[in-house]
Amino acid sequence: MAVGFEPRVVGFLCNWCSYAGADMAGTSRMSYPPNIRIIRVPCSGRVDPLFVVKAFQMGADGVLIAGCHPGDCHYTEGNYHMRRRFALLQPFLDYVGIEKERFRLEWVSASEGKRFTQVVTSFTEQLRQLGPRKDRELMAAKGVQRAV
């Protein structure tokens, strides 16, 4: 584990449940690591794998997608579609070497401020344990050149 390493986390939060859950954590004055940057989406199902891969490409240490619990989707079924997409995408990214611990899908309802802080805290901690991504070192070892 790198000393003083602070992972950068991108969180896609659905507007109706998880974004409101994050607000709830605020109104209840709970506390969680400030590593997460929250992007509001209408529904977890709006999250295109392109955004996730782009975040990792840019250098994110972790990506969180949070949506309503199954059965509670504001749009009735967006989270079910996201669940399928995630079920394939997470192992696929793991397969190309972006460890599955770096990519999470969580269900957080509007009332679960506590749960939101727990999710962010445990995710951040997990990423700290995992350490920074090693792409640069691996590329150097393999002699892969970066474009300028």
């Binding site: 891969v53 079910y80 192992p91 397969y95 190309v96 070497g97 050149q145 474009a147």
Partner: protein, 282 residues
């Protein structure tokens, strides 16, 4: 086989069932094959079929959507046709499928044919086209699917996997030949060509290459029909099938789905089950 294909092609053109037969002819090296479009009975004798007819011709059908066309299709090609029908790109009644039984194709390049079938064919379960109007060759039993190549990669450590893929992606020259050859890649404007947003940087940087290759593979999740044309045409020999087959394996395991087996089917991303339990999802 060849004779039967020619006879059928002649019959189809004579009766006016189709305007064109897409098949293979001998290439100029005198050894391998190349695609050919036959518009009249005069050209029928140009048609050949042998171990060198590796190309998936199904994508050519997209240029003839409204015209009645016959096509020579191996099992994997036939799956591509089903996929295109499923996705509204083709009408079944416009296509006459001359299916050919396939025992696996060798590695073929200019003036060179390998003895052994290609690796992908050794892993291919389909020996008989899944859809055809006329079958050439004796039906044989399907083989079991194996994913030992994918499993080997899965079992490697994350750093090893990462290193491997960074090296592979590092070599990509972004010629997009994989896309051009792929029957599932028929978008009029591919995301990689779009400028606002510029999904994939136009630099030839390893991270952009990764974006391209992973997203392209993911766009084929539950759609790839394992013809492996992408890998065949890749000028820098990136093992793209390793990406596609990982998704094929997971799609099969999670959703019990194989692309292109039937034309009338609901692809895995078009549906869901409320109470399904998927690995990694709490």
């Amino acid at each position: 086989m060849q004779d039967k294909i020619r006879a059928k092609a002649r019959e189809l053109l004579e009766t006016g069932t189709v305007d064109c037969v897409i098949g293979y002819e001998r290439a100029t090296d005198g050894l391998t094959a190349r695609p050919v479009f036959i518009y009249g009975t005069a050209g029928v004798d140009r048609l050949v079929f042998d171990q060198t007819c590796v190309h998936n011709l199904s994508k050519f059908l997209l240029d003839r959507r409204d015209k009645r066309t016959a096509i020579v299709a191996k099992p994997c090609d036939s799956r591509a046709i089903n996929l295109l029908i499923n996705e509204g790109q083709l009408a079944r009644d416009k296509v006459y499928i001359i299916g050919v039984v396939c025992q696996g194709m060798p590695e073929v390049s200019w003036n060179r044919v390998s003895k052994e079938p290609q690796e992908r064919c050794q892993r291919c379960p389909q020996r008989v086209p899944v859809v055809y109007d006329y079958l050439v060759g004796e039906p044989v039993e399907a083989l079991p699917v194996t994913f030992s190549d994918v499993e080997q990669m899965e079992n490697a450590g994350p750093a090893e996997r990462r290193g491997f893929w960074l090296e592979q992606f590092g070599r990509c020259i972004r010629c997009h030949a994989c896309r051009q050859a792929c029957p599932g890649c028929y978008c009029s404007e591919c995301f990689v060509d779009q400028l606002d947003p510029t999904w994939v940087g136009i630099r030839k940087d390893v991270t952009d290459n990764e974006m391209w290759n992973t997203i392209r593979a993911f766009h084929l999740a539950g759609r790839c029909i394992s013809c492996n044309e992408c890998e065949r045409v890749c000028p820098v020999s990136i093992p793209l099938s390793l990406l596609n087959r990982k998704l094929e394996k997971d799609v099969g395991e999670f959703f019990d789905f194989q692309a292109g087996i039937k034309a009338e089917t609901v692809p895995p991303f078009a549906t869901f089950k409320k109470d399904e339990h998927l690995k990694g999802v709490e």
